[in-house]
Symmetry: C2
Subunit: 513 residues, 2 copies
């Protein structure tokens, strides 16, 4: 398909009632360009100490790369010291390697109006990623299926406040493990026109994801432009597994963006003290980003962060807690000092229900991502139970909060209209602004209008059934799915994608673990 | 009583099982000294424009002071232009008057270890203020009573994360309106040893509150030290009611601190655009603070803020929304430029239940107060239904979040221990930190341990009853009240306070409106 002329692709379309039309109005902004500064909580002296500790970790302790000899050879060639699978670096060496990474890049969506700009002042919201379970108020918790997976893609597509389709929005556990990625990538392409993520669970699956993107966007286009992200985890502390390095290299080789993410629960996979955990995360992330730059200098890459804490009574992971929230602010500063796009936090919680705890922890972690300057915010919607469940209701509640953040990131606009001097002269002391000319001229854009929050009088709320926000969200997701209309896709592309999926599936026996 | 020797007061004690002992360990910090900077979202140029607009409002529109001729005369004497009840000021004049106000001051508590420092880097949490209704999960919404009032004081006293007893924690609607303040102030004094607020609903009630404080602390002490706050509202837009100015002056006259708070719902009591609403709030607050400084130069005063928004579909007030959250950050910058202590936001919400909406909106507004540099945070716990209800459950949930904020405001500590270089050498790549010497040495203080959040595995959570956080909070407040032990108070002081209350009550007929 990659050799087909773009014109040819336009001739027929499949499924969706709406034709993909570059001029059609989209239902929300493609992404946010922030109008408020980042919140820099740490001073220069302490930042230098953390950076120096990261460099000492890389020089004096080093980092293991397991089962990827090519990667070890790459580092050796670049001048690192390699001893077995242990790699150590002279201070400053990794930073030097990172200089080829772009500060900002575009991830193209198949709807060009939906392409997202990652880096700089830009903020992109993507759904939660990786839960084996799904949950809703009607059916409770259960294993995720391909139908659930498709539902979350449809809901993200329909939501004006999510800019990105995400990746493994839930595990489709009814599909064999070795074939899931094909159905997942196809579903992102088919049921949404927003940008998406591909598989990283093996090099071959990463390459399948990229190959399917070549069918959708054209081979040459993909070689020159980023169209897919792969979220790659460090096996903290200080261990890179070959599965991950090979996937990261596959994305970089194809000029696609790896998101490099250590997952550190302080006290388990890193020091229990924030400063040390941050230094470790910085060391691990820098090395991961360096792998992509050695594989293909200039390939887009995202500096990721997934700092969290644990219950020191039970050893359980905790999310949305204050220490990682404030620690993430420092991570943001470190990423900016490397001129790398940043991925941070999201709507984290350990709650099992979309209740008060869930939203308290979610807002704490999401605002930390917003303030720390994160450019790509995975887990923006749906995260429940320490990432074990993807919640239909919380998805809608979180997405609504993402809407509020559009207003928040707009900051306080100061100009003659907003300063309202004329209004002060019109409405004298003790007067009322409701009917004033200034209010009339500005009210439609003044405040974010939540679709979940109830702000009616108590009596109206009782008459309407005394619902809590989770119950209202339950109604909202059902409406969103009922109203869903697929974006159009031309039949030739769709056929080619399905053909690829079917051929690959036929070539393998099912694996369930 | 003010003439009694302090020694005499110690001889007997009433009620409480615990003796007031200045050396007794208190159950939480007296207040927080923040270790993270404020979040300054607006640049110099725009701040100057907002300040200039506030000055223009004061010069070109002016502000009305209704029913307080003494206050008008004070302003006239100070050089303002007074025309009827309209006061206008030359640009810069009000700022000049404010120069006598202290940048920071101590509000003394009757337990000296509980005295709070207001201003500078300090943060003080006080419960919500002013709800006519109370609510709990068992009995639903009902009018507040004196018993509810006392309960919330007891809960705030028992809570390690609330530093202050607050003021009208709920309206005790079973007590006549003209006598409520006596029971309220007595309850703060008797059931807590934390600092508290007095009445502002009339000059006489303000003076009663102060007079009772003289009984508790001694007359001379009160003249030289702040022991009580009064929360005084502007009748926005640009109108100061005499009831409020007289109360503010009563506090200042006695060297006690007025909190000066405009309550602006953008589009109703001020412009619908943030910049204008902020300029108006700034003008109103500056004038209120100036009243205290003209009454008694050097009297402590707090620059307050209660910016909020409204639903432009229904006209209902909205709380915890993004626009006031970001606007408050600017208010913080303006207050600091005047060198005044700041009161901002709190745990706002319009939700009728302690649900997801409630905590999402609460955290949004509370973090805005934290980031904007608020020194005194009223409405930290219990706020529900746009301030119409004080919720027992939300009180516990919010207070628990105040605990989390203690860790958050501690920032990221950077030293040899927290950087953990030894730990990196002990735990090699791929190892585990759980049993490491560094974890053992640091784990008890590493992470905030929430008493409400559930972070157990799903199965344990199901076994424990599948509770949501509101249900757990319901258990917590009952335990808090059951375990409550009153702080000791010497009998002579208690008798004198009760005598004052009884004499004042006997001197008036009941008024119910």
């Amino acid at each position: 398909m990659a050799t087909e002329a773009p014109e040819h692709k336009k001739h027929r379309r499949a499924g969706g009632r709406e034709r993909r039309d570059p001029k059609a109005k989209i239902n929300g902004p493609a992404y946010i360009s922030r109008n408020i500064p980042t919140y820099d909580v740490m001073g220069e002296e302490n930042l230098l100490k953390i950076e120096a500790t990261a460099e000492r970790i890389l020089a004096e302790v080093g980092l293991d790369i397991r089962d990827d000899d090519e990667c070890l050879a790459m580092f050796k060639k670049a001048g690192a010291k390699v001893d077995g699978m242990r790699v150590t670096f002279e201070p400053g060496h990794v930073r030097e390697i990172l200089k080829t990474a772009p500060r900002e890049f575009t991830q193209h969506a198949r709807n060009p109006q939906r392409s997202v700009q990652i880096g700089g002042k830009n903020v992109v919201f993507a759904p939660s990623y990786g839960s084996p379970f799904v949950m809703d108020l009607d059916r409770g918790r259960r294993y995720g299926t391909l139908e659930d997976f498709q539902n979350f893609i449809k809901m993200a597509y329909a939501c004006p406040w999510l800019h990105h389709s995400g990746g493994t929005v839930c595990e489709p556990t009814d599909v064999p493990v070795n074939k899931r990625h094909l159905d997942m990538v196809y579903a992102h392409m088919r049921y949404s026109d927003k940008a998406y993520m591909g598989s990283i669970t093996s090099e071959e699956r990463a390459e399948d994801s990229i190959e399917m993107s070549r069918i959708l966007f054209g081979k040459d286009f993909v070689d020159q432009n980023c169209v897919i992200l792969g979220n790659v985890n460090v096996n903290s502390p200080l261990l890179w597994d070959g599965t991950m390095t090979k996937s990261a290299r596959a994305y970089a080789r194809a000029n696609q963006a790896a998101v490099i993410v250590p997952f550190i629960l302080g006290g388990a996979m890193g020091p229990v003290t924030n400063a040390g955990a941050i230094a470790q995360a910085h060391a691990e992330t820098m090395v991961g980003c360096a792998i992509t730059q050695l594989e293909r200098p200039g390939a887009p890459v995202i500096y990721g962060n997934f700092l969290s804490s644990m219950s020191l009574r039970s050893g359980s992971p905790t999310f949305g807690t204050p220490e990682p929230a404030i620690g993430s602010m420092v991570i943001g500063q470190l990423a900016r000092r490397l001129n790398l796009p940043l991925r941070c936090a999201g709507s984290f919680t350990t709650s099992k229900l979309p209740d008060g705890q869930a939203m308290q922890e979610s807002v704490m972690s999401m605002l930390s991502a917003i303030h720390c300057g994160a450019n790509f915010i995975l887990h923006s919607a749906g995260f429940l139970d320490g990432l074990l469940s993807m919640s239909y209701e919380k998805f809608m509640m979180d997405a609504d909060f993402c809407g509020a953040l559009h207003s928040y990131l707009g900051g306080v606009v100061v100009d003659d209209n907003t300063l309202a001097m004329d209004a002060f002269k019109e409405v004298t002391p003790g007067g009322h602004y409701l009917g004033s000319a200034h209010t009339m001229a500005n009210y439609t854009t003044a405040f974010y209008d939540s679709s979940i929050s109830d702000n009616t009088p108590f009596e109206s709320w009782v008459e309407a059934g005394s619902t809590d926000s989770a119950t209202r969200a339950n109604t909202r997701w059902k409406t969103a799915l009922a109203d869903y209309e697929a974006p159009g896709m031309d039949v030739a592309t769709d056929d080619a994608l399905q053909d690829y999926v079917n051929r690959k599936k036929a070539s393998m026996t099912d694996q369930w673990y």
